[in-house]
Symmetry: C2
Subunit: 231 residues, 2 copies
């Protein structure tokens, strides 16, 4: 009997058994102790491998209940959301950005709801366009909750864009992110130099610090943009 003593090897062996139907979907697989004995390794090593597969959605684990092959494995695609400047520079293009305005006003109702603001509360609106080699790449419509980050009021954004400022000052916060498609409206078309009605890839993101919203942003990518990932 060949020993399997690295968690990657165990992960691969378990995957092989699943895809070869030796362990069927929905079926309970042997416990960690049994597998550790079979593979001639420690239980912790088996645990590491199975935990990895559970994180990936291939296995479902429950205390006392054991481990079973996910009946409907939810594929998890991990999307990297890079900083726009780095994304553009990573494509070997010159990055520029310009602000379209900067107003402290009451946001539209959709933003109020997303950011959980009262109907009288004002927020800072900072629309901007990011360019790659002078070509419009992304139209960013950002709202900032000044009550959450009052410091931003005094920031001039010379040489740094709002996104990166927020990353530095409000980094590592959690949030929701939505991906969708939308037809370019007049404003989108004007700023992205495309035609009205063109299909745009849209990302809506709202980030929070504790129970307070920091910023809500709508990113409209120029036509032709696509996000890659692996599954």
């Amino acid at each position: 009997m060949k020993k399997i003593t690295t968690w990657q090897a165990i992960e691969a062996e378990v995957m092989r058994r699943i895809s070869s139907k030796m362990w069927q979907a929905g079926e309970l697989i042997p416990g960690e102790i049994g597998l550790a004995e079979e593979f001639g390794c420690a239980r912790a090593t088996v645990n590491r491998a199975l935990r990895q597969l559970a994180d990936a959605g291939i296995l479902e684990r429950r205390r006392k209940g054991g481990t079973r092959v996910a009946r409907y494995p939810v594929r998890k695609a991990t999307l990297d959301i890079p900083i726009t400047r780095l994304e553009i520079e990573g494509r070997g293009k010159a990055y520029e950005h310009s602000f379209i305005g900067r107003k402290f006003k009451r946001p539209p109702q959709s933003i109020q709801e997303k950011m959980n603001l009262s109907s009288t509360q004002k927020a800072l609106h900072i629309p901007a366009v990011h360019y790659a080699d002078k070509v419009p790449f992304l139209y960013e419509s950002r709202w900032v909750n000044l009550e959450a980050v009052p410091q931003i009021k005094d920031e001039s954004f010379v040489g740094i864009n709002a996104n990166e400022w927020l990353i530095e000052h409000a980094a590592y916060s959690r949030g929701d992110i939505h991906f969708s498609a939308a037809n370019a409206k007049a404003k989108d078309a004007e700023l992205l130099k495309c035609n009205i009605g063109d299909a745009l890839f849209i990302i809506d993101r709202t980030t929070w610090h504790r129970e307070q919203s920091i910023t809500s942003v709508r990113l409209a990518y120029a036509p032709g943009f696509h996000m890659k990932s692996q599954i």
Copy 2:
């Protein structure tokens, strides 16, 4: 000195030090042994916490080089790609689907390239529409490489087993996935019962078994669809 002996607590403490700027972006943080001493726990526990943060893109770790705070933390959004039937049923709607055709023919060049097929090779084309409460939800244009999965030939003309078989097998294979937006063409509009030009959310996915492509599919979601995620 208060002991911190769970990896989640250590993870939280490290996050606190990063967001409070105690450890600045790009900066080298203490080694595992040092942190283990400080927190009064085992090195393995610190390792688990730091590994978690490295996986999340917050930290960058290199052997011998140590651990540093990521200068440009790449936000990772994990998208769940469920099976369409479950997604629709999960919204409390009735699921149905119908095949638009089933032909063994030479795919268009774009598919040939994606699937790495020669220009003379044929593939099985299975277009289908998925419905939620009788309303078109998704138009799926799928190509299957019969040379990679010849078994499907036996089942492919029996009924829906082919698709189920494919879902099962493609479920555990690796592949690329692209997200984009596109204007509905005549065919899209007809099948999704929307207007030509409507912005559609598009997923292109090609899955592989070893060096051979199994299937390449274009999913065109009906207008209004959006994908949610957390970061």
